[in-house]
């Protein structure tokens, strides 16, 4: 059986059929639909529109805003989400007491449903009686508005906060696993040579985590490109004026509109953007076969 060249293909055939039916076929139909203009979602005779759906998308100010917001979120995620996860993993890796407690605590936000999290943060941010507002009032900071839709950059930061916070634990666990694969002998040898803790971190641990970091960054980037649940719960209409939409939430709104060709074009663009960003990330962090 192991010598047969046909049997391996038979084993992967079911999954290939599944992928074909639920991924390749819908994606192909989606590309096809993006070339048409529909009068409504059940329109049996859509009109051929060529690339106009894509052109209109690039001219749409809400699309531009959602693109900028999503790229900004990606940058925040790279710096803060993966950065904090790395720092926490380095710290937790060093301690012996309560290590399990910290691992569990930092991982907890992942298991909370995004819907519950979004509703929770909506309550925390409430102008009248929200938990965060009450905490600020305890230190005599009155009238602070977290989701201030007249200052969109400020509202953007606080909308992004739960998105960033939720997955720190996930990448923390990945980094921690990576750190545990680094040989203790390397670190002991560095100790003998008189290396400080920081030197060991920057000269040994972080370089040896290169491949793990690449994987984490790709996951973080692709995850934040398609973020939907948290921003949708907290700000479904992208207030104000759609300027705080993300690509995922705006695409969802487009899918409810009459011309689903436009929504199809949006979906194709999202895939292209995701592919480009993953490729850039892979290029910058080329896997190191020696590690």
């Amino acid at each position: 059986m192991y010598k047969s060249k046909v049997i391996p293909y038979l084993f992967i055939l079911p999954m290939f059929l599944f992928l074909g039916l639920f991924l390749i076929y819908p994606f192909t139909v989606n590309i096809y639909n993006s070339l048409f203009k529909f009068q409504h979602s059940l329109d049996p005779n859509p009109v051929f529109y060529g690339l106009k759906n894509y052109v209109e998308l690039f001219k749409d100010p809400t699309f531009k805003a959602s693109f900028v917001n999503t790229i900004s979120l990606v940058l925040l995620v790279i710096v803060f989400q993966t950065g904090i996860a790395l720092i926490l993993s380095l710290l937790v890796h060093r301690i012996k007491v309560f290590q399990t407690f910290y691992k569990v605590s930092f991982f907890m936000p992942i298991i909370i449903s995004a819907t519950a999290l979004g509703l929770m943060f909506n309550m925390f941010y409430r102008k009248d009686g929200g938990m965060f507002v009450q905490l600020l009032e305890l230190v005599n900071i009155e009238g602070f508005v977290f989701l201030d839709y007249e200052k969109t950059s400020k509202a953007f930061i606080f909308l992004s906060l739960p998105v960033i916070w939720q997955y720190i634990g996930f990448y923390f666990v990945i980094f921690l696993t990576g750190l545990s694969t680094i040989s203790d002998e390397l670190l002991e040898a560095a100790d003998i040579d008189g290396a400080s803790s920081l030197t060991k971190v920057f000269r040994i641990q972080i370089p040896l985590l290169r491949n793990i970091t690449r994987i984490v960054l790709v996951l973080a980037i692709t995850g934040s490109l398609k973020v939907f649940d948290l921003p949708y719960i907290m700000n479904p209409t992208g207030r104000p004026n759609g300027t705080l939409h993300f690509l995922g939430t705006y695409m969802y709104q487009k899918s409810n509109a009459a011309n689903i060709g436009s929504a199809a074009a949006f979906a194709v663009m999202l895939v292209v953007i995701g592919f480009l960003m993953s490729s850039i990330s892979n290029l910058v962090f080329r896997p190191n076969q020696d590690l």
Partner: protein, 423 residues
């Protein structure tokens, strides 16, 4: 190893079988907007139980409060072949995707087979494909307990208000209720500003405005549509600016933090039936007024208008119609839901019944207020959301912040984006 594999295969097969529902030919799938927080939910569920007890059939009901997402999900179900047997849904442009493609059966075709189908319903209210239950009117709910001064009470004695009077009322309400913590005259949320957008356009442009929509290219800061929508900026100081629609509604009917709220007659079901203390709303202390008239000096017509109509009804899907047993069930289900007795129950919650035989023994003060609204206006029209292309009204709603905050540049962008989607 082999035994473990066989055991796992058996377990998985068993789980799959548990997951499969027994295919039952006596189950009717229904979808309606009488779910969630809709005040008609209790009456609807009671009628379902009555139908199940009498017919012996089972109703698999998936109802939800209606919003733009729900409307889109219903259309998506038809697209994917997952449509229900009976649907209670909007009429007009919202239903165009399912009506124009023949996904639901027309009343004319139903009556060829069932001549007495829904014969109790007034012909003037009957749709081409749907059987209505209750019609609606939309108005400004006013909690009179906040109108404590003689000047405010003089306004309550009038049938309707002008825009200038409305602004004066808001200013006086703030002055008279300074001690009420968190008080804002108008309960409002930019996440659900639909009625304000529709009414300000209607009041400014008249009943034909939706039939004569301008081209997007013609919209400027000085266009009538822009000026109309930017009038909402004059109300900004008086609006509560809640983050969610539920918080907005609660401000009026539950927590006594707002004096006025714009909504349809169905909202009356949320208002307490018993006397409430202090500023809490109940059916006796709430009055309903038409939306204020917009004067010509502000680009309006000076007249009062009402958004009203019979814009929802029960449909039978073509899929159910083509199945003889389901066809029979669907007919009986809809006749149960639209019988005189059923419409009496729905009308008690709010709205004008589509059956002229409905008699409500004791109408609350609030119901009388709502039924009297058509007599206080100069014209009636269907809502803009029903006259817009399916799914496109959300585009205008998205720019609510710009209208309320007086951002004319963003307002122009929003109006253009909405009009572009009407083409």
């Amino acid at each position: 190893m082999k035994r473990i594999f066989v055991l796992m295969l058996v377990l998985v097969s068993g789980l799959l079988m548990v997951g499969c529902e027994e295919s039952n030919g006596t189950t009717l799938r229904t979808v309606s907007m009488f779910g969630g927080t809709d005040p008609n939910t209790d009456a609807y569920q009671a009628l379902i139980k009555e139908f199940e007890n009498e017919s012996g059939w089972t109703v698999d009901d998936s109802s939800n409060s209606s919003n733009e997402d729900w409307k889109a999900s219903v259309i998506a179900d038809f697209k994917s072949g997952n449509e229900p047997d009976v649907l209670q849904f909007f009429t007009g442009a919202t239903a165009d995707p399912i009506v124009s493609t023949g996904k639901v059966v027309s009343i004319a075709d139903i009556r060829k087979e069932y001549p007495d189908y829904a014969k109790n319903i007034s012909p003037a209210t009957m749709g081409t494909h749907s059987v209505p239950t209750t019609g609606f009117v939309e108005g400004l709910y006013v909690n009179t307990t906040f109108f404590t001064t003689s000047e405010l009470q003089a306004y309550l004695a009038k049938d309707n208000w002008t825009w200038d009077e409305f602004l004066d009322i808001n200013q006086k309400l703030i002055a008279a209720n300074a001690e009420v913590d968190g008080f804002n005259p108008i309960a409002f949320s930019a996440t659900e500003p639909h009625y304000w957008i529709e009414h300000i356009l209607l009041g400014s442009l008249g009943t034909d405005f939706a039939k004569n929509m301008p081209k997007a290219a013609d919209i400027t800061a000085n266009h009538a549509w822009t000026k109309a929508l930017l009038l909402l900026n004059q109300l900004d100081p008086y609006m509560s600016q809640e983050e969610t629609a539920d918080a907005m509604k609660s401000n009026f009917h539950a927590t006594g933090k707002s004096a006025m709220y714009l909504d349809g007659s169905w909202y009356a079901g949320n208002i307490a039936k018993e006397d409430q203390a202090g500023h809490l709303a109940d059916v006796d202390n709430v009055k309903v007024f038409p939306f204020p008239s917009i004067p010509e000096s502000l680009g309006g017509t000076g007249e009062h208008y009402l958004q009203a109509g019979f814009t929802t009804g029960f449909y039978i899907s073509k899929k159910a119609w083509d199945n003889e047993e389901k066809r029979e069930m669907a007919i009986k289900f809809i006749e149960t839901m639209t019988s005189t007795a059923a419409l009496t129950e729905f009308a008690k919650v709010g709205g004008v019944p589509a059956d002229n035989n409905v008699v409500i023994a004791t109408q609350t003060n609030l119901q009388k207020q709502l039924n009297a609204l058509p007599a206080k206006v100069d014209g009636t029209v269907m809502p803009l959301s029903d006259l817009s292309k399916a799914g496109t009204f959300a585009k205008l709603v998205e720019y609510a912040d710009s209208f309320v905050k007086g951002n004319s540049e963003a307002a122009v962008t929003g109006i253009k984006a909405y009009l572009n989607e009407q083409v």
